[in-house]
Symmetry: C2
Subunit: 458 residues, 2 copies
Amino acid sequence: MAQKPSIPKGTRDFNPEQVAKRNYIFNTIRNAFETFGFQPIETPSFENSDTLMGKYGEEGDRLIFKILNSGDYLSKANEQAYREKDSNALISSISEKALRYDLTVPFARYVVQHQNEIEFPFKRYQIQPVWRADRPQKGRFREFFQCDADVVGSSSLWQEVEFIQLYDTVFSALKLEGVNIKINNRKILSGIAEVIGASDKLIDFTVALDKLDKIGEEKVKEEMLSKGIPQSGIDKLKPLFTLSGSFESQINGLKGILEASEEGQKGIEELAFINSAISALGLTTATVQLDVTLARGLNYYTGAIFEVSAPESVQMGSIGGGGRYDDLTGIFGMKDVSGVGISFGLDRIYLVLEELNLFPEAVSRNIEVLFINFGDKEALFSLKAIKQLRLKGINAELYPDAAKMKKQMNHANKRAIPFVVLVGEEELNSNTYTLKNMVSGDQLNVTLEALVDKIKTF
Amino acid sequence: MAQKPSIPKGTRDFNPEQVAKRNYIFNTIRNAFETFGFQPIETPSFENSDTLMGKYGEEGDRLIFKILNSGDYLSKANEQAYREKDSNALISSISEKALRYDLTVPFARYVVQHQNEIEFPFKRYQIQPVWRADRPQKGRFREFFQCDADVVGSSSLWQEVEFIQLYDTVFSALKLEGVNIKINNRKILSGIAEVIGASDKLIDFTVALDKLDKIGEEKVKEEMLSKGIPQSGIDKLKPLFTLSGSFESQINGLKGILEASEEGQKGIEELAFINSAISALGLTTATVQLDVTLARGLNYYTGAIFEVSAPESVQMGSIGGGGRYDDLTGIFGMKDVSGVGISFGLDRIYLVLEELNLFPEAVSRNIEVLFINFGDKEALFSLKAIKQLRLKGINAELYPDAAKMKKQMNHANKRAIPFVVLVGEEELNSNTYTLKNMVSGDQLNVTLEALVDKIKTF
């Protein structure tokens, strides 16, 4: 009854090297989060369906993984839906729980549920997997990690400034130099829509504008026209498409376009504040760029919108993003809590570091020394040394079986272990160890003390 | 449409302090795993149902969380089961995936699937959550982490020796002194069953024997009798119930009982080998004890069986366990791969450390310094210092809003932040910072350099 083993599509096994590389990224992000004052929380992998459903639009609802109720789940099945074999209508009566779709909604739920224990403003970070029943494709998985940092309970723009610094800190620590942090503001988008007479079509307008990079000015205009935005309004967009130069000169250009919109002016002010603070503080390796086409499709942003793209030499979509949302906890009954946050895209960052060969060589904590096993007496003698090595934090192990020496040496080679130690009768009698450097081939007969020293200082 | 937020029963939110404490345990275990030469792997949260179902017995199958297929899942529903509204029979036709129930079966699947990439013997560790639809109760959750280390591809008893050392290393590092590592061997249990004429009732026999601690000798005998084990056999158990003294003397007692069983003798040999190696190597704080009643209910152990109990001062079940299984990968078509492994029970270890007050005070990486916000000019000046502090690895933040000073100081107090820095007009003009120690109340006016120094050496 042997089964051919496999894993569900869109999911992955990670081998030791991959886990080590992923942990290198996680640890770098975590470390930066903590120096910036963010504190970790964790929420359950599954939430009550009520908590998640209806928060991500119709498409999102479809992509949420539902967990079948335990026991005789059909006993509570909605009768009409069951009779009509209506999959969609039946769900809520046979499934009460669903896998987390992102970290933002569970965070909002957490804040509302624990509001009396939380000291606001609350800076939290969360690094956990999420699940989406999306069609798997290159770089898109059904299970993947999100790394989010958010602040709730303050509308201060200093947060936006710090998030840009945080992006710069993380990517500089990862030696990924030259990332581009694009920034926009929902109020700019609203202002433009207002000015061109498309306030009631803000979503259609931003969705079309967001495609400027991909499809070009003419196609964007066509799409806007097809969505019912008047030609007279679209004509007013001309200066927008030709905005260029420094952050400051783009801001000046926007001032003209948005003269008639109070909200637009507010957006400009916010962007200018952030830009001047960042200029004064300086960034290590990242650059900041104003991008008025940036909308990130997400409807809940109310202020700043961020997106980070990899250095130009790499073909890769965004490797991070975020923004300000003024009423996220409102869906759970807690009004007027402003939040702002950013996210790091682990899988894409991994691919970029791989492509640019930026993972440190020592990222995987391999075994440093393997003791060859020549039999029980020698093994016991070896384990005494191994115990001392481990106490010094050195990763050491004994080959478990007294197999042929060639087999054991091959094992060391295949695993790229830098040192082996040989203990035979001679060493046993002289209370010494023979240390072999697997790279140079050098061999030394040493005492236990010298052995520890040699390996520790390698 | 406000919803009162809650989480599914048996699941938990973890606040920053809890996450920090859990990570302290995870990191200690991970560190020990790595010095012992184990390497990390990770597997997907859900597996194909085929991989999991039928591996944990009927009860286990019931407790596995099933994921509803996406889309029009009823279109492929088994017609007869649907007609008969048979929940159980319907499952496999509407659910193809299920949440991981433990880490052992996914590991076996991983080994078989990746056997050509793996260099054996393979020492892997895995720290990931698992899910069980068990009735929640104190210390039992529907989502919890397992921390497993296993070796596959060697039947050497040195592994058993190393696992005992590993338990000792982890619990000593956690300052949890005096844990008791109980050890038994399935061959001893089989041998005894053979000697008393109950070989065909090995499971009934071990299940009853396992209860000796809880229900006492007489009740155990009654249960055996009721399961059809002959009185004449039960009479032979007398010396077993009175086994006592050191590991060695118990082994000598067992030799007499098991004289007639070849398998039993083998079990004794194995135990004696392990015990003599451990005696020679020494343990730091743990003790090892032979416990012939130990069976751990798990039917797949074929050799050593381990269980760790907390120090006697704490009322807590086992905090770890494991053993040797000779054919785990057989279920996936790969024969004759011997494995041995142990597991750490995170949640119980957490409760024990909490009860004994063993978490280090500095376990949670709190903010070390909060800068009071007196306005935008002062905030910008503060952020220049904060940037330097963070570069030195100091957790620092700016209060985001220029709120009343009392409110900001309260915030620092509530979060137990040890230092605050005050930057007003005076400091701005003199290019200095006023550092206040929140514990002593002392205040100092210092340069940026001195500020970094003071906080770093605190």
